[in-house]
Symmetry: C2
Subunit: 375 residues, 2 copies
């Protein structure tokens, strides 16, 4: 076990802000408007809770982003402690004043700005009212790959998060399943993730029996029984970067059909991973998994996209989905997670986080993918 990675410095953040501002210029934008959430964390290290009080990082497109962070006055002391604070100008506004008046002079009267996907509509509407001449586009639309290509320091963190998730999976197979509630296993998983260094647990899906057929089922009161398939899907943040892994286990010996469905998902997942390399379109990773499952007769039961990017948050571009024709670039990190969901019966999902390398891909998860028997 190595120690924690060194924290990102103001210089690291300045580099990211410059990269973002240059990408904005290349995309024909005049600037970027960054809201609390993953974009702001990535650019500045600052993580305020998003609220009705406007916090907004304004970057000018081009070579000199001249970053200005608009913050509520009472949060200014927190903002001043952010990693990027030395390379930011803070501009605060006080309760009772109009924060959009504070932000407006930082933007031109016209032009086109990219805005964080998760910026609040009320803030976008507040800006629009004050500056009706500006056109806005979401970053997913105008600059989707802003955070998609990870550098070495980011890959180190994602690999550490993946290894911790793997360690949690190795341990969870040893706990008793039969006779316990899904929520009990979920609590065990959360504890294991924290034990292996996660600072935040975002989800611990335990979908047993028919609940496994709902891909977004979290964990409920259902008591797990002998003979259940159980989908496990868990992740969170370690060193500020995400983990997200799924494995499907079986309580006791599976039936031939259960084993067959699992084999199909496993082979589809393997095929999709094998397809990952620079230059291939995101949608082709999805297509490979989908065709395999369709050819095996289960196409209608694979009811979600094959994957999503991961970084300072667990869902971000690039998305491995039909219609996404952007191509993979070394350093991108995303999930490969096909599944089959048989309504009222059971589900199977297998998920790894992979990163694109010069030659192909490397998996950041490394635990066995065969159907594990638990007790």
């Amino acid at each position: 076990m190595t120690g924690s990675p060194a924290p990102f410095t103001a210089d690291d953040h300045a580099t990211r802000m410059r990269r973002a501002a240059e990408a904005a210029a290349d995309a024909g934008l005049d600037g970027l408007l960054i809201a609390p959430g993953p974009d702001l964390v990535w650019l500045t290290g600052y993580r305020p809770v998003p609220t009705e009080r406007l916090t907004l990082l304004v970057l000018r497109a081009g070579e000199d982003p001249d970053p200005v962070l608009v913050v509520p006055a009472l949060e200014a002391p927190d903002a001043a402690e952010a990693a990027a604070a030395p390379v930011l100008t803070l501009r605060d506004w006080s309760d009772g004043n109009d924060p959009y008046e504070t932000a407006a002079p930082l933007l031109g009267a016209g032009g086109r700005y990219g805005i964080s996907d998760n910026a609040w509509a009320m803030h976008l509407l507040g800006l629009t009212k004050r500056l009706p001449g500006i056109r806005y586009t979401s970053l997913t639309e105008s600059l989707p790959m802003l955070r998609a290509v990870k550098d070495a320091a980011e890959l180190e963190r994602l690999a550490a998060a993946g290894a911790a998730a793997d360690a949690a999976y190795e341990e969870i197979r040893k706990v008793p399943f039969a006779g316990r509630r899904e929520t009990d296993i979920a609590a065990d998983l959360a504890e294991l993730l924290r034990h292996f260094g996660h600072s935040q647990v975002d989800f611990t899906v335990v979908g047993s029996g028919p609940n496994g057929a709902n891909p977004h089922h979290e964990a409920g009161d259902r008591v797990i029984e002998q003979g259940d398939m159980v989908v496990l899907d868990f992740g969170g943040l370690k060193y500020g970067y995400g983990s997200d892994t799924s494995r499907t286990v079986h309580v006791g010996e599976p039936t031939a059909e259960e084993q067959r469905v699992h084999d199909v998902v496993r082979a589809a997942q393997q095929a999709a991973c094998a397809a990952v390399r620079p230059g291939i379109a995101c949608q082709d990773v999805d297509r490979v998994a989908r065709e395999y499952i369709t050819d095996a007769g289960y196409g209608e039961y694979f009811i979600h996209r094959t994957g999503h990017g991961i970084g300072v948050t667990t869902h971000e571009p690039p998305y491995m989905v039909d219609g996404e024709d952007r191509t993979l670039v070394p350093g991108m990190c995303f999930s490969v997670e096909p599944g089959i969901y048989l309504p009222g019966r059971f589900g199977v999902r297998i998920e790894d986080i992979v990163t694109v390398t010069e030659e192909g891909m490397r998996s950041l998860n490394d635990t066995p993918r065969e159907l594990a028997i638990v007790h």
Copy 2:
């Protein structure tokens, strides 16, 4: 101790949706667009995680809201279990399709719609692109008091949350403070809130010594010392409704100045509470607290508004802030929380949740407000 309140039924939610649709018509809106978050929880009981996948409740203004919930296909099984599901039409969309195409036919080609404050900008921009003729306003702007007036069932829950926070405060004064980190006290507070029935803890501020002078400081590694003032501000959800209480305690005997500052805040808080009654403007509650503190010579150190509404979330309209000239109505619930923050030295804040009654107000918190001595 009485049992849990009965859960809200589909009928309860239908009533709320009707009330919202009628209020929308009165406000000159053609409909409401409700995003995951407190508005959606209040209207439907459904609490999905807000993501890049569009979930949107569309209500028609007027007497027949005809509610339709647009959901990602893979979340449809969860949506179908929401309390309001029996009175909703679900319309799902699958990964790879354009969710705004699914939503568009539910809206007219023109008109004016209110949209949840916290709807994601990417979704608002997606709708705008598909339906450029529609004008949007945030609910804070167009329908700020939608959830502000609580009914008896909501008041019962807010009172239960307040009583639980009070019980936590009674207990926390018994734990040792001196020599322990702020984060230790914060963990104690969180455990107490859960012990007294909170399902979710949203914040446990422990601002000791100079940290107390930053109103948004949460809790850090600082070791609390003999002679420290310590601001405690804690809350979360019980039965789905919020608590939010602040008290300031002192480790050992306070100095005369510390006692004086606390006395000023206490009297200001009392005066502001005494001003609460139907018909008074929100800003006047703020003005009463601010004038008292200003007259005592500390006006420049009271750096935030006096209060915020509370309900299914811990920050919502009405806001007790300069410029808010809307008037109080029986059933509104909000915080009254003046404070004084002396940079680099210490802070004091006292906060209760109050509800407006026909005659005046009733406090939902009832623990002593004098400066408590802890050890």
